[in-house]
C-alpha cells in the first residue's frame, strides 16, 4: 500500500471571516487529515474546530450521493435517479415554462453563502443570465446597511488590514465576537494586548471575547449609536479630538458639533437609554483620549437593527474625529471587498440583461407579489432558506405556487426536504476554486484534492451539463459557456492587474501558497472617495437619499412583546451549516438563553420547556439560565428543527439601497413573549 500522502492546498469556503487556507493529506483518493496552511500569513497554519473536523463532513454518512427525486413533494418518498433523468426533467420544465409564458421570467434562483469561493458563489447568476430575462434576486442579507454607511462616510468600504490590528493601543469591539467567529483574529488582538493595548468589548451579550476583554461594557441592543455620539460629544467638548485631522480631512465637523450640542447626549440620558453607567462611559472616554492608535471593529450582528446604518456612521465619525483613520493600528474595521478587483466573469456573464429584480431580503413575499408571469421554478443552492430566511410564512405559500423546486446541497437540509429534486453538491475538496476573504487581504487557490464523491458535482459542473441538455433540446437556448472548465474560469480571473497586485504570473502560482495583496495602509493618503474628497460626517449623498446628512441617533424598535431575541453565531456553527458534524456538537439550536432575573420572574428552571411566540407564530425551546444575556434579551442560536427565524417579521435596516439595491435585514429586531410549556411536538413548523 501507498504510504505517502499527496498534499493539496484547499481553502475553507465557509462564510467566515477567516477563510483559512488548509492542507489536505490525501492517499489513494481518500482524505486522511487536514491541517492549516502555515504559508498563509493571516491564518498561519491554524484552523477552527469546524475546519479540523472536515473529514467528518466529507465522509458524513448523511452526505448526499446521488440525485434524488421526491414525489409527492414533502412526502419523504425519495427515489434515486440518474443525472440524466434529473437534468432532463429540469430542462423540460424550463422549456415548457418558457413556451407557456413566452419568456423565462417564471424562473428564479436563490443562492447563498454556503460556499463563498468565486466559482461557486456566482455560478447560478451566470447560468440564469445565460437564459436572458428571468427573475433575479438582488440585495445582501447581512452586509447591506454597513456598506452604505461606509460609502457615505469614506466613499467606499475599505477594511484596514486586520494584521495591523496587532499595533493598536486600544481595540473597541462593537458587537464583534472574534473568539467565536474570527478566531484567527485573536492572535493579532493578543499581540496588541501583549504590547500594552486595551481590549474593550461593547456588546449586549457577555460573549467569549467579552470574557477576555480588559473592559467589558454591556449595552442595550440597538443603542450603540447613542453611545458613540455621546463619546464624540464629550471628546469635542473637552477638545480631546484630533485638530489636524478634523481641519484637513473632515467635511461637516461644525454641523456635527452643532447637532451634538443641540440634542440631549448627556451622560444621564445615555445611561438611561443604553444601560451603561456614567462611570463606564467616563472610563471609555478616557481610554479614547489616552490610548492611540485605536481600532474599532463593527460586528455584522450590529447591523441587524432598524437604526444600524446610523449607528455605524456614528462610530465612523468617532474614529475620524479622534484621527484614528489611515494609520497603522487604527481604523474602522468592518468588511474587505477584495472581490471587487477581480473581473468576476461568472457574476458578470451577460450582466446587461434587464431582469425582473426581487429583494433577496424579502424574497418569498416579493416573488409572491409577481404576476404576469408568476414564478414557477426555483433553483436553490448554497442556502437553506427554510431555516434561515425571515418571512417563512410567505415561503410556505411560495412553495405551493412553485411547479419545480431544485435544491443543490451536500445534505438533506430543511429546504431540500421540501424540494422536488435534490442534487448532490461537491465539497470544496472535490473542485477547483479561488477564494478571496472578506476580512483579510490574502488570495488562495482551492485545488481539486479528491475525486468526485459518488455522483456529487460542483455548481459549475451542474450548469455546464444543464446547458448542454437545454441546448440539445432547444438549440441556443442558453449561452452559458459550457465548454469552459473550472481551470478556464480561474485563468480568466487572473487579469494583468491582479497579477501585479498579488505578485503572481498565473493562478497556478498559487499552488505554491496563498498571496497577499500588495497595498498601502487604507486611507493613509487621506484621499477619500466622497464628493468632497474628505471624510464626510455630513453627507450630501445621504441627504439626497432621504437619510439624515449627519449620523443621527434613532431609537431602536420596540414592541408590545417584552423580550428581544438575538440569534448570534456559535463557534460550532455557521448559520445552519455544520450541524452535520456530530462529534463535538450538541444541538444548541434547541435552547433559549435567558437572564437569571427574568427566569426568576417567570419562575423558570433550567431545561424547562417554554414557548416563544409573537404574531408570526410560536415555537418551543429549552431554557438555559445564564447571566451572559442581559435582562429583557433572549438568545436563540440559528437553525435547528424549529428555526428561530420563523418568528421574524420582515423588518429592515435603515440603509442598504445604495450599494445593494435594497435595505438590509433587521434580523435582531425580533420581539417575542414567553410562556411556560410546550415541547417540539407543538412546534409552529406545520409543513406536511
Amino acid at each position: 500500500m501507498n504510504t505517502t500522502y499527496e498534499v493539496f492546498r484547499n481553502v475553507c469556503p465557509r462564510n467566515c471571516y477567516n477563510s483559512c487556507a488548509m492542507l489536505s493529506y490525501v492517499r489513494d483518493g481518500k482524505l486522511y487529515k487536514v491541517a492549516g496552511d502555515p504559508q498563509h500569513g493571516f491564518t498561519r497554519g491554524k484552523l477552527c474546530s469546524k475546519g479540523y473536523a472536515y473529514l467528518k463532513y466529507v465522509y458524513s454518512p448523511n452526505r448526499l450521493r446521488f440525485p434524488l427525486r421526491q414525489y409527492p413533494r414533502g412526502s419523504g418518498k425519495w427515489e434515486k435517479i440518474s443525472w440524466n433523468e434529473a437534468l432532463e426533467q429540469i430542462a423540460e420544465k424550463i422549456l415548457e415554462l418558457n413556451k407557456r409564458y413566452g419568456s423565462n421570467l417564471s424562473l428564479t434562483y436563490n443562492n447563498g453563502s454556503g460556499n463563498i469561493g468565486l466559482l461557486h458563489q456566482y455560478a447560478s447568476a451566470a447560468f440564469f443570465n445565460s437564459l436572458g430575462q428571468h427573475t433575479k434576486p438582488v440585495g445582501n442579507f447581512c452586509l447591506a446597511a454597513g456598506q452604505d454607511a461606509f460609502t457615505y462616510d469614506f466613499g467606499q468600504t475599505l477594511n484596514p488590514d486586520p494584521e495591523q490590528m496587532g499595533y493598536a493601543k486600544l481595540i473597541l469591539l462593537w458587537g464583534a465576537n472574534p473568539a467565536c467567529t474570527a478566531i484567527q483574529q485573536m492572535k493579532y488582538i493578543n499581540a496588541a494586548r501583549k504590547a500594552g493595548a486595551k481590549l474593550v468589548v461593547i456588546d449586549p451579550l457577555f460573549t467569549s471575547t467579552a470574557a477576555k476583554a480588559d473592559l467589558y461594557i454591556q449595552i442595550r441592543p440597538g443603542t450603540d449609536g447613542l453611545l458613540a455620539l455621546g463619546l464624540a460629544k464629550k471628546l469635542i467638548e473637552n477638545e480631546d479630538y484630533d485638530r489636524e485631522f478634523v481641519e484637513n480631512h473632515i467635511y461637516g465637523f461644525e454641523a456635527f458639533s452643532r447637532y451634538l450640542n443641540n440634542s440631549d447626549f448627556s451622560p444621564s440620558r445615555l445611561s438611561t437609554v443604553t444601560g451603561i453607567t456614567e462611570e463606564a462611559f467616563y472610563e471609555l472616554s478616557q481610554l479614547l483620549k489616552e490610548y492611540k492608535p485605536c481600532s474599532s471593529w463593527i460586528g455584522y450582528g450590529f447591523q441587524r437593527h432598524s437604526n444600524s446604518g446610523q449607528s455605524i456612521r456614528a462610530i465612523n465619525a468617532l474614529m475620524a474625529l479622534t484621527g484614528n483613520i489611515g494609520k497603522s493600528g487604527a481604523g474602522a474595521y468592518y468588511l474587505h471587498l477584495g472581490q471587487e478587483a477581480f473581473p468576476l466573469k461568472l457574476a458578470n456573464h451577460n450582466s446587461s440583461v434587464q431582469n425582473r429584480l426581487v429583494n433577496i431580503n424579502d424574497f418569498a413575499s416579493s416573488i409572491l407579489s409577481l404576476q404576469d408571469p408568476p414564478v414557477k421554478f426555483i433553483w436553490i443552492s448554497g442556502r437553506n432558506p427554510l431555516s434561515q430566511d425571515q418571512g417563512l410564512t410567505a415561503w410556505r405559500e411560495l412553495l405551493n405556487q412553485l411547479e419545480l423546486i431544485v435544491t443543490v446541497d451536500l445534505f438533506m437540509t430543511k429546504t431540500a426536504e421540501h424540494s422536488d429534486l435534490v442534487l448532490p453538491a461537491a465539497s470544496h475538496f472535490e473542485e477547483y476554486d479561488l477564494n478571496i476573504s472578506y476580512w483579510h487581504y490574502w488570495l488562495a487557490l482551492n485545488e481539486k484534492a479528491l475525486p468526485a464523491y459518488y455522483e456529487a458535482k460542483s455548481d459549475l459542473e451542474i450548469f455546464r451539463l444543464l446547458t448542454r441538455k437545454l441546448n440539445k433540446l432547444s438549440a441556443g437556448f442558453s449561452d452559458f459557456p459550457a465548454e469552459l472548465s473550472a481551470e478556464d474560469w480561474l485563468a480568466s480571473e487572473i487579469t494583468t492587474q491582479i497579477k501585479v497586485s498579488y505578485g503572481i504570473n498565473s493562478w497556478q502560482d498559487l499552488k505554491n501558497g496563498p498571496k497577499k495583496l500588495q497595498m498601502e495602509i487604507p486611507w493613509s493618503s487621506c484621499k477619500f472617495r466622497t464628493a468632497s474628497g474628505k471624510f464626510e460626517i455630513y453627507s450630501k449623498l445621504a441627504r439626497k437619499n432621504n437619510l439624515p446628512a449627519l449620523p443621527k441617533y434613532h431609537p431602536p424598535q420596540s414592541s408590545k412583546h417584552p423580550f428581544q431575541v438575538l440569534s448570534p453565531q456559535k463557534n460550532e456553527f455557521i448559520h445552519s451549516q455544520t450541524k452535520w458534524l456530530p462529534r463535538i456538537i450538541h444541538d444548541q439550536a434547541s435552547l433559549v438563553l435567558i437572564n437569571t432575573n427574568d427566569a426568576q420572574t417567570h419562575n423558570l428552571r433550567d431545561d424547562e420547556s417554554v414557548i416563544l411566540y409573537n404574531d408570526n407564530g410560536s415555537l418551543s425551546k429549552k431554557v438555559q439560565i445564564t447571566d451572559s444575556v442581559p435582562p429583557g434579551v433572549l438568545v436563540v442560536f440559528q437553525g435547528g428543527q424549529e428555526p428561530i427565524n420563523s418568528l421574524i417579521n420582515e423588518s429592515f435596516c435603515d440603509m442598504g439601497k445604495l450599494k445593494n439595491h435594497y435595505n438590509g435585514n433587521a434580523f435582531y429586531d425580533l420581539f417575542v413573549s414567553l410562556k411556560k410549556g410546550g415541547d417540539s411536538a407543538e412546534a409552529a413548523w406545520f409543513f406536511v
Partner: protein, 175 residues
C-alpha cells in the same frame, strides 16, 4: 502548560486532536469544559509524575517514558476500565466498540519530528504550550487552578496561568 487567561473555549484543540489521531466518536482525548461563565479548561492527559493509571493497570499496559510521557499500549489493554476509574482527570477514554481504553499520547511521534502536538499547533490563542520545566516557566505559573481536580495523588505535569481580573460593567438597571 495551559494559560487559563487566554483560552476562549473554541475547541479547536479537541477537533485538531481528533483530526490527527482519528479517535472514534465519543473518544475525546482532549476535552474543554466551562468552569464559570468566563473560564474554560482544556484538559487531556497530564502525563503525571505518579500516574495512577500506570499503578492500577493489571495488564501493565501503561508506561512512563523517560521523557515523562505516559503511554498506553492498546495491545495489552484488556478493557477492565480500572484506569478510567482511577485517573482523577478523566483522561483515559473508553471505546465501547473496541472495548479498550486509549488516551493522549502527547503526539510523541509529532514531537519526534519536531512538530508541536496537534492541539498546541491548533490553539489560536497560544493558550496551550509545551514548556521545559527547567527553562522557560513564566513566573505567574501555578500547579493548579479552580476547577482542576486534586493534584496531590498523581502530581500532574500540567502547569497553569490563572485568569487575571478584568473590569466589567453590566447593564445598570432592569427596565
Amino acid at each position: 502548560m495551559f494559560n487559563v487567561d487566554q483560552c476562549i473555549g473554541c475547541q479547536s484543540c479537541i477537533s485538531a486532536c481528533k483530526n490527527e489521531n482519528q479517535t472514534p466518536t465519543g473518544v475525546n482525548w482532549r476535552r474543554v469544559s466551562q468552569i464559570t461563565e468566563d473560564v474554560f479548561l482544556s484538559l487531556s492527559c497530564n502525563h503525571c509524575d505518579s500516574p495512577e493509571c500506570f499503578r492500577v493497570c493489571p495488564e501493565k499496559a501503561y508506561t512512563k517514558q523517560r521523557d515523562g510521557i505516559v503511554i498506553i499500549n492498546p495491545n495489552r489493554c484488556n478493557g477492565c476500565m480500572d484506569c478510567v476509574a482511577a485517573c482523577p482527570f478523566g483522561a483515559p477514554q473508553f471505546d465501547y466498540e473496541q472495548h479498550k481504553a486509549s488516551k493522549c499520547t502527547m503526539c510523541y511521534t509529532r514531537l519526534q519530528n519536531n512538530l508541536q502536538p496537534s492541539c498546541v499547533e491548533a490553539c489560536p490563542t497560544d493558550a496551550l504550550k509545551i514548556v521545559d520545566f527547567n527553562q522557560d516557566l513564566p513566573v505567574s505559573v501555578e500547579l493548579t487552578v479552580a476547577g482542576f481536580p486534586d493534584i496531590v495523588l498523581t502530581r500532574p505535569s500540567t502547569r497553569f496561568i490563572p485568569p487575571q481580573p478584568r473590569r466589567r460593567y453590566r447593564l445598570n438597571c432592569l427596565n
